[in-house]
């Protein structure tokens, strides 16, 4: 069974997952517009030296997110 509580913020470098949805209404459209679509594959690349923000790859390009935003993106694994 998919663990619904897990978010992009909890992934580890190199891990790949499928986006399930968003837990925050306000920013969800911005995240959608940037190509973070439910059902698409997200790869966690690396994090900044101080742990935040992080760099992920989605639909072929790289994005920077803060952990706050990453925590709003729930994933299936």
């Amino acid at each position: 069974m998919a663990d619904l509580a897990k978010s992009v913020a909890q992934m580890i470098p190199g891990e790949t997952a499928v986006i399930a949805g968003f837990t925050n209404e306000e920013l969800s459209n911005k995240l959608l517009e940037m190509g973070l679509l439910p059902g698409s594959v997200v790869t966690y690349n690396f994090k900044a030296p101080l742990g935040d923000p992080i760099c992920v790859t989605v639909s072929g390009y790289d994005l920077t997110l803060r952990l706050d935003e990453a925590a709003m993106i729930s994933i299936l694994n």
């Binding site: 306000e26 920013l27 969800s28 459209n29 911005k30 995240l31 959608l32 517009e33 940037m34 190509g35 679509l37 439910p38 690349n45 690396f46 900044a48 030296p49 101080l50 742990g51 935040d52 923000p53 760099c55 639909s59 072929g60 390009y61 790289d62 994005l63 920077t64 997110l65 803060r66 706050d68 935003e69």
Partner: protein
């Protein structure tokens, strides 16, 4: 000759600026959109023998739903056919290596029924990545022209011009089918405002609060209609984006013959391993910073000296050729030095922007944001505040102009507010003379020069004041918008040197004309204050000094300088300086320093020149003369030297914190759209300067 209006739209990092530069060359101008402070870049492009295009470069956006100031402008232009900037045709620039997110805006433009050409830019990189696209099928599916371009090399530009000159029909595609339950509301609005498309009406309903072109009555009509039909803003937005992406994904699966392999990014990732490394990342960042500083100070010195002496010579030359009279004095002593005072900053600003442009072009700037974001957030700013703050060490004006990339209003406001506390280069001449005056030229452990340490301490003091003020503002300023950082990390690449060149020219032009107007106006006012005074006393200058020389109180050789000092003392500036004395006496200053505080109000570096005049040094070029003259100055109350350590330190602290720069205030007014913030900044910095200087003087005296 036909004149078309063409808009360039696309997401950030799609190479829009390169394409704009290719199409217009240096034939471009920067202005403002009416009422807002968003840069408007327009240029003319000759498409063929009888057609010209006026091209407008719009801010980079992902979709029509705006978040930052820049983005609002684009939504406004595309949803308002009456707008003076509404284009006849649009060039939608897509990054060929990242098609999916590039096309979102395109699908919206198609639904707005605006004739659009799709430009697939960076085709060289796409080819390198192994991707191959069926362009004919692409154009057929979208029902609009598709042109392949490499905006860096100019490949494909001719065919783009040809396409633009021809007729571009509106695409027949309808991508977002408006939900049945809101169709009545949409149709009502469409009919009421006689709009071209359902989607335009839908945008009116969705963005009624953002669209400034709608009148109050029109807005209330839209809001009533929304209420009547049960239209909730925002409800359909997420679904719309998903539908659009479904369309794009279907389209791409048909037209992309071969997908890119991730191999081509491997090199970029390898660079990132070093540049965002725990230790190396910061080490390299600070090394680059250090290099920028070194070059600003080292390379700008010669051209600055040249500008300085050219204007001084010009002033002298004209002074000798013009007949005497107040009008000619205004030209030679007010206007020409005023213009010189603006142009003297051009070398530093040009060098700073050259570096910033290179860092942005290569993609390194996104990594700086990535490295610094967490630290900056602790102080109420964002990773995007780093560049403006650092630029503040050169000059606050371009630094404040560089805050526009910060989406969140509060983050941006705090950055604008604290940037002038960073010690800019105009403070350096003031620091230099005062440090040399009060700090012994000795070495600590025979190695570290005390004067050098003091100078570094002043820079550090300004920096600390900036971040601590930011921290205070973080708690004081309330904001309902949440701050976020969702930013594309571009692949590393070599800078395009012509883009760098164009950036330097356009930013420098903005500085000269925007800040220049204010600097010039204020320097003329201050010149008048310092050269005129009550007629009787001004006219008496020569006879008073001659009398003093006769009585052997003064040296005859100093006559000219003594007369100038006497005139300054009795000018309006001198009168204000004397009136100011009770207020500044607790800081350890007399009325002579008061005059310098007033004349340097427009620009700090004027302090040195005024001090030289008031102490009748004459030659301001020679720092040693000024220093020895200042050292000899006696405080009549104590009988000891006027420039004691306490007074000197107090002055240094005052200049570190005080907002002695009219042009910064003018830029802040422009960037924050009103006098509220620049006035608060002036009050805050003056108070900070006054009380810190007061404490310093009282402690050390």
């Amino acid at each position: 000759m036909k004149r078309l209006k063409v808009a360039l739209a696309g997401k950030p990092n799609s190479g829009k600026s390169s394409l704009f530069n290719q199409l217009t060359g240096l034939n471009q101008k920067t202005g403002n959109f009416p009422g807002v402070t968003v840069d408007k870049k327009t240029g003319i492009c000759q498409l063929n023998g009888d057609t010209q295009a006026e091209i407008i470069d719009l801010p980079g956006i992902y979709s029509l739903y705006p978040r930052s100031l820049d983005e609002k402008i684009v939504a406004e232009i595309f949803s308002d056919r009456r707008n003076q900037h509404f284009p006849n045709k649009v060039i939608l620039v897509a990054d060929a290596t990242n098609l999916q997110s590039s096309l979102l805006l395109l699908t919206q433009l198609i639904d707005l029924r605006i004739p659009t050409v799709l430009v697939l830019n960076m085709v060289d990189l796409a080819a390198k990545s192994g991707q191959s696209v069926d362009v004919i099928k692409f154009a057929q599916s979208l029902d609009l022209p598709v042109v392949l371009v490499n905006a860096r090399s100019g490949q494909g530009i001719q065919s783009l011009k040809k396409t633009l000159a021809g007729t571009i029909p509106v695409s027949s595609q309808k991508i977002y089918p408006i939900d049945k339950e809101i169709l009545p509301a949409v149709e009502d609005i469409k009919k009421h405002f006689s709009l071209e498309s359902n989607y335009e009406a839908y945008q009116y309903l969705q963005q009624v609060d953002h669209l400034t072109f709608l009148s109050k009555e029109e807005k209330s009509y839209i809001n009533e209609t929304a209420l009547q039909y049960g239209f909730f803003k925002g409800k359909y937005q997420g679904a719309e984006t998903i539908i659009r992406y479904q369309y794009i994904q279907d389209l791409l699966s048909k037209v992309i013959l071969k997908n890119a392999d991730s191999e081509w990014k491997r090199f970029s990732y390898r660079i990132d391993k070093v540049l965002t490394h725990k230790i190396w990342g910061y080490l390299i960042f600070f090394t680059i910073l250090f290099l920028i500083f070194q070059s600003i100070f080292a390379w700008a010195q010669a051209p600055m000296d040249f500008i300085d002496s050219t204007f001084a010579n010009l002033s002298n030359l004209l002074n000798n050729t013009f007949p005497e009279g107040p009008f000619f004095d205004l030209i030679t002593q007010g206007i020409i030095p005023g213009i010189g005072g603006i142009l003297i900053f051009v070398p530093q600003i040009a060098i700073l922007f050259a570096f910033i442009a290179v860092l942005e072009e290569t993609g390194y700037m996104s990594r700086v944001v990535f490295l610094m974001d967490k630290i900056m957030r602790k102080f109420g700013m964002s990773g995007k505040s780093v560049v403006p703050l650092i630029s503040g060490w050169a000059c606050a004006i371009p630094a404040i102009m560089a805050t526009r990339t910060i989406e969140n209003w509060k983050d941006r406001l705090i950055t604008i507010f604290v940037t002038p506390l960073m010690s800019c280069s105009a403070r350096l001449p003031v620091y230099a003379i005062l440090v040399a005056l009060i700090i012994p030229d000795d070495k600590l452990f025979g190695f570290f020069n005390f004067q050098g340490i003091a100078l570094m301490g002043l820079y550090l003091l300004g920096f600390l004041a900036a971040i601590l003020s930011a921290l205070a503002m973080k708690w004081l300023v309330k904001s309902k918008d949440r701050s976020y950082l969702i930013m594309e990390m571009p692949t590393y690449r070599m800078p395009n040197w012509s883009n760098v060149g164009v950036t330097i020219v356009s930013k420098t032009k903005t500085f000269v004309f925007e800040a220049g107007k204010v600097i010039l106006a204020i320097s003329i006012v201050l010149w008048v204050l310092a050269s005129y005074g009550p007629t009787e006393q001004m006219n008496a200058a020569e006879s008073v000094i001659d009398k003093q020389i006769e009585n052997n109180q003064q040296e005859a050789a100093d006559r000219e300088n003594l007369i100038m000092a006497y005139r300054l003392e009795h000018s309006y500036a001198g009168i204000i300086g004397k009136a100011l004395e009770p207020a500044i006496a607790p800081l350890g200053y007399d009325w002579k320093i008061g005059i310098a505080l007033i004349t340097s109000f427009a620009a700090r570096e004027v302090f040195v020149g005024t001090i030289a005049t008031i102490y009748s040094v004459g030659n301001t070029e020679d720092q040693t003369t000024i220093k020895s003259r200042l050292r000899a100055e006696i405080n009549p109350e104590t009988g000891g030297p006027r420039f004691t350590k306490a007074t000197g330190l107090s002055l240094l602290v005052f200049y570190t914190f005080a907002m002695q720069c009219m042009s910064t205030l003018a830029i802040v007014k422009r960037e924050t759209n009103g006098w509220k913030w620049p006035m608060m900044q002036l009050a805050y910095m003056t108070a900070l300067a006054y009380f810190s200087a007061l404490i310093v003087y009282q402690v050390f005296s």
